[in-house]
């Protein structure tokens, strides 16, 4: 177990390092150099030179990367070029919307998908299964932002049950949750459809295994084998998908924020792109990628908890 943990932590650190280097070097590909790019064509040469110096562009690339990485490790992402405020604080503010949204969507997706997947697997081939799986086909085909627009149209504009957009801040927890609920549903439903399908096929696959036959020979009913044996074994492929879905949800959250005018990471990024604020974009992308890598790490740990075969040595 310790060896497994050690290997995982090592690969986590290495992934973060390489990912940060990738992000850093893509930004270097900018036409001209980052300073003149950010200031635009009409900028005074003196201003450009000042920014160059502030960004340390006169130093060679590896040294700049190292010092960039060093300051980030201390929690300092630099200063936004447009807002003149520390990027770390801006991202921290915005992530308070995006992260809860993604987590809420993940929980919702799981809560919807598990009953559906279990139901479909235990009624395999029957009318209920066919109907439910047809529904998930539709769910997968749904672009989440369009679905979000429809939700707004129905529940906010027509029925007025929910606000159509905006975010009151966490000082009003209930109103904040209410503001996040429609976006979370919009994000969760297509993902729940995928998850339900994966769970169903994983369950059906494990239901065909030899040890299920052994369990049936002990006298377990088909339902009992499903819950006592198949479900736990089916969790392994489901977990993989769950981990991948978190990265889609995080990305999806960025798009959905636009539909609901939520002040999340997504809004920040799109503003930064139009303002050519490379420092903000770079930092935000790094945070997103690091989150995805961290989730992969957590999924790896969860494997070891479920599967004793990984715990040996």
């Amino acid at each position: 177990m310790l060896r497994y943990l050690f290997r995982r932590i090592l690969s986590l650190g290495l992934s973060l390092l390489v990912a940060s280097a990738l992000i850093f070097s893509v930004v270097e590909l900018v036409p001209g150099d980052p300073a003149s790019f950010m200031l635009g064509t009409g900028a005074q040469p003196e201003t450009v030179a000042a920014l160059r110096e502030q960004m340390g562009l006169d130093q060679p690339l590896p040294i700049r990367y190292a010092s960039w990485l060093g300051t980030i490790l201390q929690g300092d992402f630099g200063t936004s070029f447009t807002y003149k405020t520390p990027v770390a604080g801006m991202i921290l503010d915005r992530i308070q919307v995006s992260l809860p949204l993604a987590i809420m969507a993940l929980l919702l997706a799981t809560a919807i998908a598990f009953p559906i997947g279990l139901y479909a697997a235990s009624h395999r081939g029957r009318a209920g299964d066919v109907a439910v799986m047809g529904g998930t086909q539709l769910g997968i085909a749904l672009p989440n932002f369009w679905f979000a627009m429809l939700l707004v149209l129905i529940f906010a504009v027509k029925l007025r049950w929910f606000p159509a957009g905006g975010f009151p801040g966490w000082s009003q927890p209930l109103a904040a949750l209410k503001a996040l609920l429609l976006p979370a549903i919009a994000l969760a439903l297509p993902q729940a459809a995928i998850l339900a399908r994966v769970l169903r096929s994983a369950l059906i696959e494990t239901q065909g295994q030899d040890y299920i036959r052994t369990a049936r020979a002990k006298g377990l009913t088909e339902r009992q084998t499903l819950h006592r044996h198949a479900l736990r074994n089916a969790l392994i492929p489901v977990l993989t998908i769950l981990g991948m879905q978190f990265s889609f949800l995080l990305a999806g959250a960025i798009i959905i924020e636009n539909v609901f005018y939520l002040p999340g990471l997504g809004r920040l990024i799109f503003q930064a792109i139009t303002q050519r604020d490379l420092i903000v974009v770079q930092s935000a992308v790094l945070v997103l990628v690091a989150a995805v890598i961290a989730v992969t790490f957590i999924v790896d740990l969860a494997y070891a908890i479920i599967d004793p075969r990984l715990r040996k040595t």
Binding site: I23, P143, N144, L153, V157, I254, N258, F270, I273, T296
Partner: protein, 266 residues
């Protein structure tokens, strides 16, 4: 399966037709006719500039399909050889390097790379293609490797080795032909995911730029007047749903048809 093929075929047909003919010119504005509901002249109605939605949807299909298709091409063209190489070096360092590299790219969802590219090079349809394509690479590499690994344990591979064939020849002659079914199915899935991703990217302005119509951007433009004229938002969305649904049904059907295990059971 037939329904899937029909829906996907319809989208393709609309896209192909749009090269030669659309009911109206998509750049032609007629403010007087703006925001009409479906009529005999404008089957799907008009948008806020009075442009014909049917025509825009047809040209939009072209954009979506082209982006998704090229992205799948990039993913397959690079991912499949990588997966084959990894499988033929299974357990050795090259396999490890390729797969860890894949994991890393997997941490960059297409939206995230599109953001990065858009910030650096400015937004464009090409960025969307590259971002989606890059994300497709590890998908195909993983599927290829996972499918190729069990084949490498089979005795016909041993027989080919005894016949003096090297790993490249074996990968091409024995492994690849036996996993093409799976790759076709995965290709359909990635194609439909590509259409969704393209729609998402152009919705947030990171994909095709004006005046090129695209389903995602039509939705973004429709958002502000969704209460006034819901059809402007509903029609492009339905196009996406039906195309993706068609492709997914087609993929499922192909899998059932091509899977030898299922075939043997029938």
């Amino acid at each position: 399966m037939i329904l899937g093929a029909a829906l996907a075929g319809l989208a393709l047909l609309a896209a192909a037709l749009s090269w030669f003919w659309t009911p109206f010119d998509v750049t032609q504005m007629a403010i007087a006719d703006k925001l009409q509901g479906p009529t005999v002249v404008h089957w799907f109605g008009t948008d806020h500039f009075g442009r014909d939605i049917l025509s825009m949807v047809m040209v939009g299909a072209r954009t979506s399909i082209a982006v998704a298709l090229v992205a799948v091409g990039i993913g397959m063209g690079i991912g499949v050889p990588l997966g084959l190489i990894a499988a033929s070096h299974r357990g050795r360092w090259l396999d490890e390097v390729i797969m860890r590299g894949n994991d890393l790219i997997f941490a960059f969802p297409s939206l995230v790379s599109a953001i990065l590219f858009a910030a650096v090079f400015g937004p464009s349809a090409l960025n969307a293609i590259i971002a989606i394509g890059i994300f497709n690479i590890p998908v195909f590499a993983r599927v290829t490797r996972a499918a190729a690994l069990p084949i490498w344990t089979l005795d016909y591979i041993r027989a080919a080795e005894v016949a003096g064939k090297g790993t490249t020849l074996i990968s091409l002659q024995h492994v690849l032909p036996n996993i093409t079914n799976l790759l076709i199915v995965q290709g359909t899935i990635q194609f439909s995911l590509g259409i969704l991703a393209e729609a998402g990217l152009s919705y947030v302005g990171l994909g095709a730029q004006p005046p090129t119509p695209s389903w995602g951007r039509m939705l973004a433009e429709a958002q502000t007047m969704v209460t006034l004229a819901p059809h402007v938002a509903i029609i492009p969305g339905l196009c996406i749903v039906l195309t993706v649904l068609g492709l997914n049904l087609l993929g499922d059907g192909l899998r059932d048809m091509l899977d030898p295990r299922l075939k043997a059971m029938r």
